[in-house]
């Protein structure tokens, strides 16, 4: 029996052979695949597609090797001083090793907890670690990324306070209010900018959204701003850099209501921006307004401890249009990376890491500050910075960065939209003193010829 399914190619990803297909079609009772496609309008069936022919794995490797070779990175000998939301950190071998385990990588969301205790227990560890880091009472199992976590936190604050005005500190990365805007556009939310030294806020604010360290790398006065929020019946939402928490006071110490963060610094490759994981923690009181997956501990019929997805009535698959968020597929595997990373660094490691970043960044800042024409600026939050700082340059940052690039240096971020000739420089433990000195010297040369 001739079957048009016989045209199927035999591909390593598809086990069925022509004869098996024929056998199955016979059981189904049709002559050919087309017998199963009757519902598809015939005039639109089997359209022409402009897609290349398939490649063997060896060819694929070659093609992707060339693509990768077109990008400049540390592996091609560049040094970089970019931060601003994505950070270069050394990722321990344990993270990569565990990330190769197919049982984690190729599992689905743990809807059948008996067959997913691995994923679930890791998620519970993740929640624990986020709480320990932030000093908060509860955390969820992860959001898409930092900015969406922040946006969802502000929307959550609006639900909790039943208010519709959201304040965001002026020193925050614009990605935070931008994402919030996209997330809240049709929900009757108004976003207002709050100055970092504000002593008054509108009395109908749902929350103040504070980034600390802020976009400019500086520590905000979380305590004062949180108190200000609370005095006005608003919540305090703090967006942190988790690496900084190895050294700086945890938001939990300041009675903050919701804490969010970009989890990328905790063991996740920069990978041109994603996938990352949004960290999300809050006070226990607000838990039923929290978005995202939550994993809880319980017992099985024999009394043994086990883990399950819980409080699912908040979620879209149960609550549908009344859910706390539309999030479904999230970032469990990136959460695993964060969990293995933090477990590997441990109590001492996170401290040492924060200190190393701080030391190197401050060394770089003082060296750059000593260059003619360059000066390290404080943008009004007190000047205590972690591992990022702002430099004003003697000429446009775009020119300076172009000159740096010739020396295989990717300079700091051009923030001239926020500060004239402003460059945001980030230094982590992956920059050696030699790298920093090379950068400083290059700046000095470029500055001299400016």
């Amino acid at each position: 029996m001739a079957s048009s399914a016989n045209t199927s190619v035999n591909h390593p990803y598809i086990p069925s052979t022509d004869s098996e297909r024929a056998e199955m079609l016979e059981v189904i009772g049709v002559d050919s695949l087309d017998g199963l496609l009757g519902d598809i309008p015939i005039e639109h069936r089997h359209p022409k597609l402009d897609i290349d022919a398939g490649l063997s794995e060896q060819e694929l490797s070659t093609v992707f090797g060339s693509i990768a070779a077109e990008n400049a990175s540390s592996s091609s000998g560049y040094i970089s001083f970019l931060g601003a939301g994505s950070y270069s950190h050394y990722i321990p071998s344990t993270v990569r090793s565990i990330l190769q385990r197919g049982e984690f990588v190729t599992a689905y969301t743990p809807y059948q907890p008996e067959a997913a205790q691995g994923t679930l227990q890791v998620g519970f560890e993740f929640q624990t670690i986020i709480c320990q880091l932030t000093g908060m009472e509860v955390a969820n199992a992860g959001m898409y990324d930092g900015p969406t976590a922040f946006a969802e936190a502000c929307l959550m604050a609006a639900r909790v306070t039943k208010r519709t005005k959201i304040g965001v500190l002026s020193t925050a990365d614009r990605r935070l209010p931008d994402t919030l805007l996209a997330y809240s556009k049709y929900q009757g939310i108004e976003i207002v900018e709050i100055s970092t030294d504000a002593t008054e806020i509108p009395d109908d604010l749902a929350c103040i959204g504070i980034q600390s360290p802020n976009f400019f790398g500086e520590i905000e006065d979380i305590e004062r701003l949180t108190n200000l929020a609370h005095e006005n019946g608003a919540l305090s939402v703090v967006h942190v850099n988790p690496t900084a928490l190895g050294m700086f006071k945890a938001p939990g110490e300041f009675d903050v209501d919701i804490v969010t963060a970009e989890g990328q610094p905790l063991g996740v490759p920069m990978a041109f921006g994603g996938p990352y994981v949004g960290l999300f923690a809050c006070k226990k009181a607000h838990i039923r307004q929290m978005p995202g997956r939550i994993i809880g501990r319980t017992t099985d019929t024999k009394g043994r401890a086990g883990y399950v997805l819980t409080l699912q009535t908040r979620e879209q698959h149960i609550r549908r249009e009344r859910a706390t968020s539309n999030i479904c597929t999230s970032t469990q595997l990136i959460g695993l990376m964060v969990t293995v990373y933090t477990a590997t660094l441990g109590k001492q490691g996170i401290k040492d890491l924060a200190s190393l970043c701080y030391q190197k960044a401050h060394y770089a800042a003082s060296e750059i500050n000593g260059l003619a024409g360059f000066s390290v600026e404080s943008l009004g939050s007190g000047g205590t910075f972690f591992h990022e700082f702002v430099v004003t340059c003697p000429e446009s940052v775009s020119k300076i960065n172009a000159a740096l690039l010739d020396k295989k240096i990717i300079g700091g971020l051009d923030i001239s939209d926020r500060l004239d000739n402003g460059m945001l420089v980030c230094v982590t433990e992956t920059s050696s003193k030699a790298d920093i000195d090379k950068f400083v010297q290059a700046l000095s040369q470029i500055g001299a010829s400016a």
């Binding site: 898409y144 597929t329 990136i334």
Partner: protein, 487 residues
């Protein structure tokens, strides 16, 4: 106390319970710069109470935990609507290449030409596959793709000063993210009924569609695994009242090379790269949910969109973009994998994916329909929705059958979804599984049906031999324990 001697009874203490003061798994290098002044101590915290364990303990703990999971790499996983297909290992490797994994999202475009070129090529391929040429890879999962699509629909209507359109029409069979996304987009959700064939009730849709209709959200094929025979009529009804048609492309695995959504009157769709395009699910993400639109709507796409210019590749912001729906440029490493998948399969391979996915699902359906009810008694696409209604009458629920499958090393189908099917068991075998695996599954399903009468307690109490038996979810929700605490 006796120590349990069941090799499966592993030590499940949490990391913090294993922590011993002074132990470590890692050391940082010493500082190589002159010592810098610390900030005032009022800024500084005490220790962070993270676990203190050895490096071996990190590896052993997570390795052992991993073995508690079912996964594609170790099990048949016919979870409907989730497209649990083979995740090629080469794709993981490629995404980790130096030059792809270690580039910063804010690097100047000229230093990341390869990366942007890859994004552009993937956009083009997705546009071609769906027939919707405007593509943004920004959305981080299907739900975000939906939301982006709805933002686009709203922006489109607003740009035409057509601002009374505040209704999203959504079938009763839709996935929960559809109404949730619509609500986020400030739309009122109106539900359209399915008819007894599992199709959208055309009459009902005609009643509901009007000048308030912003968008009709349709899953193609539907969550019942069925292709809407009236698709052209449905899209026409919506277009006639000035609305847009959104296709939830979670089930695109059925359509590769067989039909283009754009040809059917769809204006906007998303696709889950973590389903059809084989990127690993990771136990619940990361995903990627690109949004595809008609040329006309392309100017509203969320940023960024990769473009080719005379000076090379750039990341651009469309003219009337709905903005930034997340931090950077989407799930780049996932896009790398999806692109590798398309390149490895090529045109014929992609067609073969859908052909085989459809044959496999129909084969299972044909072999089980005497024992299990069908949600709709017609050929299905890439998945078949069974109903355990008959078994339920004999005393065993769909849930029990799902749990019993676990005892055979087979992951359960999606249970109780779509909600309109009684005791639904949604089975999606995918093209990755061999006929022997399908036959084995069929045999097991038939045996379980026997057990419903011959040994019902086996089914009721399943699973029997996994790391845990059924878990008390009610107590978990009533008295939430969500983290380790010292005690």
């Amino acid at each position: 106390m006796t120590i349990s001697a069941h090799a499966g009874d592993i030590d499940r203490r949490l990391l913090m319970d294993r922590s011993v003061t002074g132990r470590k798994a890692f050391t940082l290098p010493d500082s190589d710069v002159p010592e810098q002044n610390l900030p005032d101590s009022s800024f500084l915290r005490d220790d962070v109470e993270l676990p203190e364990v050895s490096q071996l303990e990190v590896i052993r703990y997570f390795s052992v935990l991993s073995q508690l999971n079912f996964s594609i790499d170790t099990n048949f996983y016919p979870l409907g609507s989730c497209t649990m297909k083979y995740n090629p290992k080469i794709n993981d490797e490629l995404s980790n290449l130096p030059g792809l994994a270690d580039i910063h999202p804010l690097q100047p475009d000229e230093t990341v030409q390869g990366a942007i070129r890859l994004l552009k090529n993937l956009q083009d391929d997705l546009g071609e596959i769906t027939g919707l040429p405007g593509v943004s890879l920004a959305p981080l999962a299907g739900a975000q793709g939906e939301y982006a699509g709805l933002l686009i629909a709203r922006a489109y209507h607003n740009a035409r000063n057509d601002s009374v359109r505040t209704v999203a029409i959504i079938p009763d069979s839709a996935h929960g993210t559809n109404p949730a996304s619509a609500a986020m987009a400030g739309l009122d959700v109106v539900t359209v009924r399915s008819d007894d064939q599992g199709n959208v009730d055309v009459v009902n849709l005609r009643e509901l569609a009007n000048e308030n209709t912003a968008v009709f959200m349709l899953t193609i094929p539907s969550t019942l695994g069925l292709f809407e025979p009236n698709i052209l009529e449905l899209t026409k009804i919506i277009h006639d009242v000035g609305g847009l048609v959104y296709a939830d492309g979670a089930n695109l695995n059925a359509l590769l090379g067989l039909v283009k959504l754009g040809d059917l009157g769809v204006d906007i769709c998303h696709s889950n790269l973590h389903k059809t395009f084989s990127t690993p699910h990771g136990g619940g993400g990361p995903g990627s949910g690109p949004v595809m639109v008609t040329d006309e709507l392309a100017k509203f796409l969320p940023k960024p969109v990769a473009e080719k210019t005379d000076d090379g590749y750039v990341l651009a912001t469309p003219e009337m973009s709905v903005g930034s729906i997340n931090g950077f440029h989407g799930s780049f490493s996932i896009a790398v994998r999806a692109y590798a998948y398309i390149k490895a399969l090529g045109l014929e391979g992609l067609q073969s994916v859908s052909e085989n996915a459809i044959i496999s699902a129909n084969y299972i359906q044909a072999k089980l329909r005497d024992k299990y009810d069908l949600a709709a008694d017609r050929y299905c696409m890439h998945e078949t929705v069974l109903s355990a209604a008959r078994q339920k009458k004999r005393g065993v629920a769909g849930l029990d059958i799902a749990k019993r499958l676990l005892d055979f090393g087979i992951h359960a189908p999606t249970m109780y979804f779509p909600m309109i099917v009684d005791e639904a068991l949604m089975v999606e075998p995918t093209e990755s599984e061999s006929k022997e695996t399908l036959d084995h599954f069929i045999a097991v399903m038939r045996q379980i049906d026997d057990e419903v009468d011959s040994a019902p307690e086996l089914v009721h109490e399943a699973p029997h031999d996994l790391p845990v038996t059924r878990l008390d979810e009610a107590t978990a929700a009533r008295k939430p324990v969500l983290r380790w605490t010292a005690d």
